[in-house]
């Protein structure tokens, strides 16, 4: 299997799906000529031409809304929002239109579209450019939400998103674009939605995470192994649907769980997961489920402060030690 970056894996998924299906079209700010702010759409314009790969004005709500209409009209649009922060300008089309059309119109239409958006913090981009809004999307019925952690999943999940007949929010972590991993070359390689990955098996604690948090959880698990704590790391892959079965089974086995999430803690997705674990295996738990989450503050610019706001391997390690030693 060739090794490639998360960025290139996404790029390959886009190219394969555009070759596979002429109804796949791509648009967004600076995706064509400039080849994307993060270069995920590199080479698309050259291969597929201006009809299928289009630069748009800076008009986020319309970028999504036009995709909704095009999807209703028989296309399979893949829209890019330059970052998740700008999805806030498109929330009307995402929540009121993209997520609702099928159900509200009695199942008479499908909205087979994908909105890709890079997100996450950690690059000193300050309050308006560092947000983790995954919970906002998974809160809304009617949307699929994928957020890959590895290059292979980036490719396989994006291909599934594009082929899926449901509208999908496809999140990409800005700090993972350069991460490398083996990626299957098979153009039919798909990663199904709603199936979490057990990234590492363990006995003592279950770490439930997604995207960059899964990578940090793996790093923490490697360090904790040295002090004799065995962690099982579950990468959710998709937040909607949420593979409750897999993380509940794991928590039942280990008896302890820590959820790691980059979003703000209050009303963050970790609360939902903790609830599902408590519901699913309360009898088997040796400790209440713990959470390691983003600090409940607007992201400060200064790196000295920003570092305090995002989970780190050390903060995960502390939480795991606490849960194992009964300090909670």
């Amino acid at each position: 299997m060739p090794e490639m970056t998360y960025r290139d894996a996404l790029n390959l998924a886009l190219k394969e799906e555009m070759r596979h299906d002429p109804s796949v079209v791509v648009w967004g700010e600076d995706v064509a000529l400039y080849e994307g702010s993060f270069k995920v759409t590199r080479g698309l314009l050259a291969e597929f031409g201006e009809e299928r790969v289009r630069d748009t004005p800076i008009s986020e709500n319309t970028i999504v809304g036009v995709a909704v209409g095009a999807a209703m009209g028989g296309l399979r649009p893949v829209a890019e929002l330059m970052t998740v922060n700008f999805a806030l300008l498109a929330m009307d089309q995402i929540i009121n239109h993209m997520a609702k059309a099928r159900s509200m119109f009695g199942g008479q239409t499908t909205i087979p579209m994908t909105v890709r958006m890079p997100g996450g913090g950690g690059s000193q981009l300050a309050a308006q450019h560092s947000q983790s809004l995954e919970t906002y999307f998974m809160h809304c019925p009617g949307l699929r939400v994928a957020y890959p952690a590895t290059p292979a999943d980036a490719k396989g999940l994006l291909k599934t998103a594009i082929r899926d007949n449901n509208p999908t929010i496809f999140l990409e972590h800005e700090l993972l674009y350069n991460s490398k991993g083996e990626v299957p070359e098979d153009p039919e390689f798909l990663v199904p939605f709603g199936r979490a990955a057990v990234m590492r098996e363990g006995r003592d604690v279950t770490l439930v995470a997604y995207a960059r948090m899964s990578i940090l959880a793996l790093q923490a698990a490697a360090d904790l192994e040295k002090e004799g704590i065995s962690c099982e790391v579950i990468d959710l892959r998709t937040l909607a649907p949420l593979d409750t079965e897999t993380f509940v089974a794991s928590a039942r086995k280990t008896g302890r769980a820590v959820v790691v999430e980059e979003c703000w803690e209050t009303a963050g997705l970790g609360g939902e997961i903790a609830y599902r674990i408590h519901r699913g295996c309360f009898d088997a738990l040796l400790a209440p489920v713990q959470r390691v989450a983003g600090l409940d503050v607007p992201m400060p610019y200064s790196r000295q402060l920003e570092r305090l706001c995002i989970p780190r391997p050390e903060t995960i390690i502390t939480a795991v030690r606490d849960v194992v030693s009964g300090r909670y």
Binding site: E29, D30, L33, Y34, S37, D55, T56, P57, I58, S59, N61, N85, F86, L88, L89, S123, Q124, L125, A126, A127, Q128, H129, L295, V297, P298, P300, Y301, S302, R303, Q304, L305, L308, C309
Partner: protein, 325 residues
């Protein structure tokens, strides 16, 4: 260039324009250096090439007029009176910065200067400017809100909604578009059905005009006239200042989408040396005086960098401060 500079403003004002433009340029170039050294992190959008707009426009406003801008706003803050050393400290993420290191390059703010912010969501400043203008009118103040924005921002609903609202409620907003022809890598005619931005206000019955944004005196005159008009009529006005950014969109952008020939044409129109030549030609200043201004600006910027370097980082507890009152 039929007008003589001296016919417009006294020598000391003209020299101040030059001084401010040079200071802004030196400041930005020092930022680029500090970014390369890793002292400044995150996004850094430099203003080099556009100085005549910030300097000319600010001079055409009253000190109590509000100014709002986007994320390419170091120059606007400095020209309005922010101390270069405190702006640099903000960019370094230090506690002594104008926003205590919490905002960074894209979010300068100083209410004591009526500098009401740098906003990093394209078009986010439009409604805020309209709201400030409303508050001013409501409170019986004579000030206006000057809202700076780029050519890329005019395709946001916020722009159109802001224009309509300000006209409907008859609010003193001066919209100033800095048309540098690009929104990141997309040229204005590829993103706007009507690339002549000043023409886009006709649907809202808002008067507008276009001005040479590389000519500091032309910008000053246009903004002064427009601001006086806004104050007199209590209604919005839009100025499109045509300009160019000499660097990429941000430090991450090598700007390969622009041809070297295009760049050269605009370099030849650099607002600073051209204005300097006019000052000398019209006998307002000697070349020696101008050189001295350059020296002074460089040392001011060097001091700013030293100040920033030596400033403390914010304390960890600061992370919970300033969120609620």
């Amino acid at each position: 260039m039929d007008v003589t500079l001296r016919g417009v403003l006294p020598d000391r004002e003209l020299l101040r324009f030059y001084e401010q433009m040079v200071l802004c340029r030196e400041f930005e170039e020092a930022c680029a250096e500090q970014y390369a050294k890793g002292q400044i992190t995150g996004f850094l959008h430099l203003y080099s090439g556009q100085e005549a707009v910030a300097v000319g426009a600010t001079a055409g406003l009253h000190r109590d007029d509000y100014i709002l801008s986007a994320y390419r706003e170091h120059a606007q803050a400095i020209v309005r009176g922010a101390e270069p050393k405190r702006v640099m400290a903000e960019l370094f993420g230090r506690a002594t910065g104008v926003c205590k290191g919490k905002g960074g390059s894209m979010h300068l703010f100083d209410p004591t200067l009526n500098f009401m912010g740098g906003y990093a969501i394209v078009g986010g400043q439009f409604p805020v400017a309209v709201g400030l203008a409303f508050a001013a009118k409501y409170r019986g103040e004579t000030r206006l809100a000057a809202c700076f924005f780029g050519d890329g921002a005019v395709n946001q609903g916020n722009f159109h909604e802001g224009l309509n609202w300000s006209r409907l409620w008859e609010l003193p907003v001066l919209f100033v578009c800095e048309n540098n022809f690009y929104g990141i890598g997309t040229e204005v005619h590829r993103s706007s059905a009507v690339p002549d931005i000043h023409k886009r206000t006709c649907g809202y019955d808002i008067p507008s005009e276009k001005v040479d944004g590389m000519d500091v005196v032309a910008v000053y005159q246009a903004v002064k006239r427009a601001a006086d008009w806004v104050r007199e009529h209590g209604r919005p006005y839009l100025i499109e200042a045509v300009t160019y950014r000499f660097r990429g969109h941000s430090m991450a952008d090598p700007a390969k989408y622009r041809s070297p020939a295009e760049h050269e044409i605009w370099k030849a129109r650099d607002p600073i040396p051209n204005f300097g030549r006019r000052l000398v030609a019209e006998g307002v200043a000697s070349q020696g005086q101008l050189d001295g201004i350059g020296e002074k600006a460089r040392s001011l910027v060097a001091e700013a960098v030293t100040f920033a370097e030596e400033s403390p980082w914010p304390a960890d507890d600061e992370v919970y401060e300033d969120i609620y009152v």
